[in-house]
Each structure stands twice: as C-alpha cells, then as structure tokens.
C-alpha cells in the first residue's frame, strides 16, 4: 500500500513547506523567542560551519550578558536557506544565521534580514571593502562578512615533476601545455577535472577573466552572462574537453576524491578552504601538494576570483534582540582570537582587513607540513587582496545556479559547446528575473 499515496504526499509536502509549518522550521527555531532571565539575553545562531561552536564558546565566555546557543543546520543551498525563509515567515526564526554572499540579495528580496546599519556602522570599516559592498543594498548594511573564498591553484607537485614540469603554470597557455604533458603520463592522468556540477567554480573562472554578469543600475539589472570574458573562458575549457586534456567529472564526488588520492587529477582551482577538503580526503598525499597563484590570461597580471564570494552572518527578521545579535555577529568575525579560531576550523579566509593578529595564518604546522612546508596562506592573502569590488550577486541566484548547471550538463552531453551553455543561461536568467518582476536590461 505504501506506494499509492506519493502523488498526494508530494503535494502535502510542498503545501506544508509553503505554509511554513514544516517541523524543521517550526521546531528548530523555537528557542529564538529569547527570554531575559537575570538580564542575560538569549540568542540563537544557525550555522553549518563545522566546529564553529569553538568560536561561539569564546563569545559566551567573554560576554556575561549575552548567551548564544548554536544550532547546527543543513548547509544553506541544501535546505538551510529554505528552513530560514519558512521560519522568518512563521515568525520564529533564529536571531543570527549563516548566509552566503551569493544568497544575500534573495534574503533582502524576501525581507528576511534586518537592516543592521545603526548597530555596526562604526566598526564596519574593519572589514575588506569588496566584502562590505556585498553586504550593502540601498545604502543599508544587512550582514557582517565572515570569510571569503579567494581562489588559488592546488597542485600535485610530484605528478607535475614526473611529467617534467618544473614550475606551476603562470598563464592559461602554460596550463594548457602542462595539461598535455600530464596527459602523456598515462591513460587516466589529467591535469584537472572539469567540474560541471560547480557553478561557483565556473563563476570564479569567469570573474577572474573580467566577467561582470550582473550590474545594478538605478532601477534595473544589466545581465551579461555571455560577455566576452566568459566566452573566452568557455572556449578555453571547451578546447581542453575536446582534446581530452581534462576529466569531465563532478568535484567533491567519490570519483573525484579517489582521483585526487591517486594523482589521476593533479590540480584543483579552489578557495582557501579547499585545503581542508584535500587534507581531509587525501591524507596519504601529504607532502605532495603545493599551492600557487591562479594562472593568468595575460602574463604578469594578478587577476583572481572567488568561490561564491564568501559567507556572512546576518540578523534574521523578527528578532527581538537586533542590537545584541549584531554585537555577536560583529565580535565573532572581528575579534582576533575568534577569527583565528574560524581560520583554523576552515571557515574560510578572514573578512577583516588587518590579519596581522591572526596567529593561525602565520603559524599552522599541520597545514604547512602537508604542503611540503609551504606557507600556503601567503598565496591566498595575495589573492584576496586582488579580488575586484565589482562582482554583484543578483536576486534568484539559485535559479542562476541550477540553470547554468543544467545547461552545462546538456552542452557536454549534446556536444553543443560550453559557450552555448552560457548563451542559454543568459536567456534563461533574464526570463526568470522578468517572470519574478525584476527589471533587466542587456548590453
């Protein structure tokens, strides 16, 4: 009998989610009503960053008047954001939450975040400019940047050496030449995976080439997902795919983990947190990895990009303690000890401007020994400093992500070319924005 009802249950599930009374949303945030027992303000903080409780404990220990309870939730894109939106609608959201820079416009659009300008404007200068820009809409600040993901090139120096390559590729032309050399090592050897599942990766590569997919005008968005810079990137990777120089495979999949363990995939362009992924999943390759700056389109430049921008802490709409919640978000992401903890748990590259007091960046033997005693943070410090302040995230970012992935997948299956995938995404995204009532223009 079990299978006769699914049609109805699907609708039931959808409807339950709509009404915001799904048990996940309702039950999880109940503590946020907050009581002021004995003058202590109770706050709830929702995050999925592993081990972030260490930083929360530091805050609680040094703030007798505020007590923060950490609630570990599903990562945002996997359902965490949906939970937050429902909870805000139902009026029982947490006070502080983890939100990616890419998703913040949708939070503002859904009226799910508090304008915290009045509480944080005095200290917001502590943070890097481009990240503050990502928090700012209509001149109001909606979040505290926590960590960014500047890109770098992780590579297997042992495999590169075996292929006769003595230094990391400094330009994309060199990367192409190296790809050919590594491909000659064996039938399973590739310089990199083409991660068709990873929009932030594709966006990071485009951003590095100078793409600006979204530009906010005074009352409309200029959308140019298929601009010249992006097309250059698309054609380049299409060439690598056509010549079988990269392995078309999802990154951070079982297949891919196996390939980085045995050296079949010899490099990965990723954010600073990529270190934790590699060390955690390929511990036996210790000493074989190095990190270098991203290859350049024009030799001698230092263009870079990010992996989905970064991650912020926001104050969710409906909290009774916006001031205390802002104080917590600010302290968590600017106090030297707290930031040092965040770095060591792999939260990402710190969003504060002055990182001189962050001890885990200068002295981290566990990390450096894995990279043959290279201080890999120097690479990411440089990369982060070179991120341009002109990439903007649009509303409906999830539509952008799923449309782009679907189009990239189908362009690979039907051999229609990656450039076609970006053309299709341009059309699809404009259509979706228009349907949602957002004004768009094209170049």
């Amino acid at each position: 009998m079990k299978r006769i009802f699914p049609a109805i249950t699907t609708m039931a599930i959808v409807a339950l989610a709509l009404s915001g009374c799904s048990s996940g949303a309702g039950g999880s945030a109940s503590a946020s009503a907050g009581s002021d027992d004995g003058g202590v303000t109770e706050l709830t903080f929702q995050s999925w960053v592993p081990n972030v409780d260490k930083a929360v404990d530091l805050f609680n220990a040094s703030h007798p008047n505020i007590h923060v309870t950490l609630e570990t939730i599903t990562a945002g894109p996997d359902g965490g954001y949906a939970t937050m939106f429902s909870a805000v609608k139902a009026g029982n959201a947490a006070d502080v939450a983890q939100v990616g820079y890419d998703w913040l416009p949708d939070f503002v659009r859904n009226d799910a975040v508090e304008d915290i300008t009045q509480y944080v404007s005095g200290e917001i200068d502590k943070f890097v400019d481009w990240q503050v820009s990502a928090m700012t809409f209509n001149d109001a600040i909606y979040g505290i940047p926590q960590a960014s993901s500047p890109l770098g090139l992780y590579y297997r120096s042992d495999v590169f050496k075996k292929a006769g390559i003595t230094k990391a590729p400094e330009t994309w032309d060199e990367f192409y030449a190296d790809a050919k050399l590594i491909r000659k090592l064996g039938k399973d050897n590739y310089i990199a995976a083409f991660a068709y599942n990873q929009t932030p990766w594709l966006i990071g590569l485009s951003e590095q080439a100078g793409a600006k997919w979204f530009t906010a005008g005074s009352d409309s968005w200029t959308v140019s997902i298929n601009d010249d810079a992006t097309m250059k990137v698309a054609d380049y990777w299409q060439k690598l795919i056509d010549e079988d120089l990269v392995k078309v495979e999802a990154d951070m999949s079982n297949e891919w983990y196996k390939d980085i363990q045995n050296g079949n995939v010899a490099s990965w362009i990723s954010g600073s947190w990529g270190d934790a992924i590699i060390r955690g999943n390929a511990p036996k390759t210790s000493g074989n990895w190095s990190v270098s700056y991203m290859p350049q389109w024009t030799a001698g430049e230092s263009a870079t990009g990010t992996w989905g921008g970064g991650s912020a802490n926001v104050v969710l709409k409906g909290t009774k303690h916006a001031a205390e919640a802002s104080e917590f978000a600010l302290w968590l992401n600017s106090n030297a000890e707290s930031v040092s903890t965040l770095v060591s748990i792999g939260a990402g590259w710190p969003a504060i401007e002055d990182t001189s007091a962050i001890t885990s960046l200068t002295n981290d033997p566990d990390v450096f020994s894995f990279y043959n005693d290279q201080n890999i943070w120097k690479v990411f410090a440089e990369s982060d400093a070179n991120v341009q302040n002109d990439w903007r995230w649009p509303p409906l970012v999830s539509t952008l992500y799923s449309t782009l992935i679907d189009n990239v997948k189908s362009s690979i299956d039907n051999s229609t070319g990656l450039s076609n995938a970006f053309d299709e995404t341009q059309t699809g995204m404009i259509d979706a924005l228009t349907q949602a009532g957002v004004a768009t223009t094209t170049n």
Binding site: R3, I4, F5, P6, A7, I8, T10, M11, A12, V14, A15, L16, A17, L18, S19, P77, G79, Y81, A82, F85, P105, D106, V108, R109, N110, D111, F137, N138, Y196, N197, A216, D219, S220, W221, V248, A250, S253, N254, E255, K258, D259, N264, P395, L396, S398, T399, S402, I405, D406, V408, K409, S410, I412, D413, L433, Q435, A436, G437, V438, A439
Partner: protein, 315 residues
C-alpha cells in the same frame, strides 16, 4: 498482506461489542472520525492549499531588492510550467520510463512468483526472503549503492569488465533511464512478487488436480489457471508500478551529481522540488505538483478502465 487478517478479526469483534453499547451510529463515528479528521488535515487540506498556492505568484519590482508582493495570477503558473520545454521534456522522459519500467517490473515479479510457487522450487522460503530483502533497503541507500557500481572509477564490476575489454558506462544519456529502471526493479520486484505469491497461494488445489486429470502440463497450468486467477493481483501490481514510476524522484536526485545526463528537472517531481526548495518558487512548484497528481489520476484510472472493459470476471 497476511497481517491484515488478524486486524480485521479484531475490529469485527470490537464492532459487535460496540454495537451493544451505543448503537451502530456511534460505532461508525468511532471508527471513521479519527481517520476522517487525519485524512482531512494531512491529505485534503494540503492539496487544497497547494491548489490555492498554485494560483498565486511572488512578484518584486525594479532591482528586486524591495519587499515581495503576492499576486493572484489565475492559471499563469500552469501555463508557465506547461510552456517550459524542460518540464515537457521531463514528462516525456517519464512516459518513456513508464514504458520501460512497468512491463519489466510486472513480468519480472510474475516470473519470480511463478518460480517460487512451482512445485519443484528449491528452498522457496529462503528465496522469497532473499528476493524481498532489497525492499528493506531505503531508496536513497539503494541508489547510493548502485551509484558506486555505475561509476567506472569506483565500481569493481565495471573495472573487471573493462579489464576484459568491455567498457560500460551506465550513466550515459542514452542508458541512464535503464540504469534507473534497474534500481527500481531491484528494490521493488521482490515486494510485488510477494503480492503475486499470496494470490497464487490462495488458488484452490482442486483446480490443479482437475487440470492434471485433464492432462494439462506445467505450461498449460500456468497460462490457463494460474495467470487468469491472479489477474486481479497483476492488475494491482501494474497500478502500483504506474503510480510509483510517475513519482520518480529519489533515484535520479541521488544519481544527479554523478552524471551530466541528469538535470535538475529530469523528472516532473524533481522539477517541482527544484522550484520549491532550490529556487524558492513554491507557487510554480505547487502548480507542477498538481499537474503530476492529475496525470497520475488520469493514468491510473485510465488503466483500470482499459482492464475492466475487457470484461474480466475476476476483477
């Protein structure tokens, strides 16, 4: 299915006791009201809510950074769903999957049941349990298991085949539906087999004796006695399979990251899920869910009509 018998006995005993105390109306209410309330609260109300939601849309204006407005849009969401090429493609894919999966499932389950029922079957009980076991594995886990077996670099089977020169990649665009059908078959064939075995067991042995006296062999007994008599159960199994395949969701969702051949709107249910939980457009998702429900309704009742028209006494 055998578990239902004691419950029926129990209820009939309680019914008689109840009748003596408060009369038939009280008894009827006592037994129907709890169900009716739950049914209304958890099935009917959400369906109505979904239908209502499917006629609204969330609209913003300008840069889309101001507050959203909920607008009544009549059937716009349905028009939008049905004019999205990828949604139509997902419906087409689903029908294709039905055509592959339904006969495969019904025939496999019937053959398994007949084999177990055959007089010469070896260890029928052990095999029944073995065939039924995959049904105890949750769909997600089953798909993860098969996912490992389908990807060449993690599959010992495919690696073994590759070593002797046979290169198979099940998750290619032209074979992915079969790969999914295989998982569903593995999970549900044993379950359907149990339904058919129960039906076979209830055939009176006099009929077999009569057939034997008339000189019918094994094959004739199968085609002239067993299959016609378990026809209602076969119809039931077919119906379950049709409805089940229309709900195709878990298998492609779990396999999706492993292949370029499965998009985020591979099946209508995935499209609805993607709209609701990834893209935040629950109104469009509600419209898609209603479309799938209507299709499931049409196909199941259409199937029943076709079967009944042939004038079978057994149904």
């Amino acid at each position: 299915m055998s578990t239902t018998i004691p419950i029926e006995r129990l209820t009939s005993r309680r019914k008689t006791r109840q009748r003596r105390r408060s009369g038939p109306i009280g008894a009827i209410l006592l037994f129907t009201v709890p169900f009716a309330l739950m049914f209304l609260a958890f099935y009917v109300a959400p369906i109505i809510y979904a239908m209502v939601q499917s006629t609204f849309a969330q609209k913003s204006s300008g840069l889309g950074l101001g507050a959203l407005q909920e607008v009544f849009v009549f059937f716009d969401n349905y028009v939008r769903a049905l004019s999205t090429p990828s949604f139509i493609a997902s419906l087409g894919r689903l029908f294709l999957f039905c055509i592959i999966e339904v006969p495969l499932m019904v025939i496999t389950a019937t053959i398994l049941a007949l084999l177990l029922e055959a007089g010469k079957a070896v260890w029928p009980r052990a095999f029944r349990v073995i065939f039924f076991m995959p049904y105890g594995v949750p769909g997600v886990i089953a798909t993860l298991l098969w996912g490992f077996l389908y990807v060449p670099s993690t599959s010992p089977v495919l690696q073994g085949l590759a070593a002797i020169g046979i290169d198979i990649t099940p998750l290619q665009p032209n074979s992915v539906l079969f790969a999914i059908a295989n998982i569903s078959l593995w999970v549900y064939a044993g379950y359907n087999m149990i339904i058919l075995t129960a039906a076979l067991n209830s055939i009176p042995s006099e009929l077999y004796e009569a057939a034997k006296i008339d000189g019918a062999g094994e094959w004739k007994t199968i085609f002239l006695i067993k299959l016609p008599l378990i026809r209602p159960s076969i119809v039931l199994v077919t119906l379950f399979t049709i409805i089940g395949t229309l709900q195709l969701f878990v298998e492609p969702l779990v396999l999706s990251p492993l292949t370029t051949a499965i998009s985020s709107d591979f099946t209508p249910n995935m499209a609805a899920y993607n709209q609701a939980f990834a893209q935040g457009n629950s109104n469009l998702a509600a419209a898609m869910a209603v479309i799938v429900a209507i299709l499931a309704f049409i196909m199941s009742f259409g199937f029943l009509r076709i079967v009944n028209k042939k004038g079978s006494e057994a149904w």
